[in-house]
Amino acid sequence: MDLSEKDEFSAEKRNPDNYDSVNNPSGDWRVDSYPSENLISAGPASCSPSQMMDSFGQTLWYDPTSVQAMGYGGFNGGNASSSSFRGNIDRSLEMGWNLPNLLPPKGNGLFLPNASTFLPPSMAQFPADSGFIERAARFSLFSGGNFSDMVNQPLGNPESIGLFLQGGGTMQGQCQCDELNVGEPHNDVSTAVKDPTVRSCEQAKPNVPGSGNVSEDTQSSGGNGRKGRETSSNTKKRKRNGQVNSEAAQSHRSQQSEEEPDNNGDKKRNSEQSPNSPGNKTNSGKRQGKQSSDLPKDGYIHVRARRGQATNSHSLAERVRREKISERMKFLQDLVPGCNKVTGKAVMLDEIINYVQSLQRQVEFLSMKLATVNPQMDFNLEGLLAKDALQLRAGSSSTTTPFTPNMAMAYPPLPHGFMQQTLSSIGRTISSPLSSMNGGFKRQETNGWEGDLQNVIHINYGAGDVTPDPQAAATASLPAANMKVEP
């Protein structure tokens, strides 16, 4: 049966007149050039589109599709390699959808009645298969603009048929238009984009009358396609929701204001997804794009209700808030040691609280120890810094440069006065351990500091690896600072 249909189909396609500019990327397309083996070779390739809809029991529906795919594949095989055709099954599918449009101009009723007899019984039993839905959606995209017209008119109306065929027929005439529509099969969001192009394509060619059968099945498939489009768009909304939520999470950093009254309006606007008509679909698609661009402007969080979730604004806000909290808790989990094994918010929060308490207790304990270690409370900055410098240098893994020059460079935000003070104290500190080296240098000696300080700095340079350029600036500033600090 397949082969016979193929032959019929191929017989119809022999006429090259109307197929000059059909979707043919290579441009070398010649109908009569394709040998029969291309059809046969394309046969197994075209079986895979049927495999895509494998859960669908009715094979009858597949046949015209496969025929069309093969038919096109035959065309394609004449120019490109058949492997490329096999590689682009999707493209061929879309091309295949073209074929009922191609048929009417021929006025050849051989194939059409066969297809039509297959289709109506099969159409009645369409399961909501995802693969079929996608294909139906794609098909609907092709002549999406027509469906609204078709729906309004009764089935079997020759005018509607003509409209459809016109829409279909025009598709072939504009290969660019088809390329546009076909080239983005995977994103239903672009329905808004496609519809105007489809409509523009329609008006290009005049009405071509044709048999009613093709339009009938396409109409019914169009009806199902619309439904399919709706359900698929629901799933797509989930993906979009994820994107919007991630954007929203990021943009929320920028604002801390009360979300709920702001979001009420937004969410109500977002959550009216259930009444889905094609007109609304394009609007929502466009609105989606606008919302994402509005995010940086308003700073509002645009949240979309997920599929199967309540669209109450309060629950949406709750969900956003809960997500934020869990995100922060994950962050905290990394901070607090030993929290990785713990699962569950309550236990983890208890751990966090315990950790904070332990840290605070540690601070208190250490301050007590400090008080006992240094009972006179004469914290000599110099001595402390010197010893601490040694400790920090030994203990820390982050600092590779000597302590004091690093300190001088590390605090650009500090006010200048403070910098001078610290530098003077650093100078005192540095000089004190080295005073023993210099021999009899008084601790509180301020005279002759500059030379000593410079010596000190140079010695410190020798002690560790410091980048010369920032340190040069430090040395340049140090003597000046000391000059100011000295009373």
Partner: protein, 160 residues
């Protein structure tokens, strides 16, 4: 010990900053009581502890964090000093009542833990739970840094 999280910024300065601030505050302590040293060790401990917290708050970026701001304000109030803060970009404190009223609807488990956290973290009373978590994270980082500094200091001093 700086984290690079795009969404939540909990960058904490290096250890040296903390050390510097702490030592400076300690030396200020010394200059406060040059002659008469308070005999009671408790007072001393308290002073050191306060100096530790204040220096930690300053090192962590004085006004940019809610907890540090609250800490400094609290410390200044104890000393009867007036603290001057730069103007805040956003107001936080007025949201307490509106948030607390509706806290029943939020997850009660989380909320009671958040209450305990609020008692621990300075300035936690005026924050929403999500903001509280951010502040807690930063606070934990700064606290651990301060603990390290103090530990180094104690070790250095006790090594005499």
């Amino acid at each position: 010990m700086a984290s690079a999280d795009k969404l939540i910024n909990t960058d904490v300065p290096e250890k040296d900053v903390f050390a510097l601030h702490f030592l400076r505050s300690l030396s200020n302590l010394r200059t406060q009581n040059p002659l008469n040293s308070p005999d009671k060790s408790i007072d001393r401990v308290r002073k050191i502890k306060k100096a530790a917290y204040v220096s930690m708050a300053r090192a962590a970026g004085g006004n940019s964090r809610l907890w540090s701001r609250a800490l400094l304000r609290r410390a200044a109030k104890d000393d009867n000093k007036s603290v001057r803060f730069s103007r805040r970009k956003r107001k936080v404190t007025w949201k307490i009542s509106s948030k607390r009223r509706r806290s029943n609807q939020r997850a009660p488990v989380v909320e009671e833990a958040a209450e305990r956290l609020r008692n621990l973290v300075p300035g936690g009373g005026g924050m929403e739970t999500s903001k509280l978590m951010e502040e807690t994270a930063h606070y934990i980082k700064c606290l651990s840094m301060q603990v390290k500094v103090m530990q180094c200091l104690v070790d250095g001093l006790s090594q005499k």
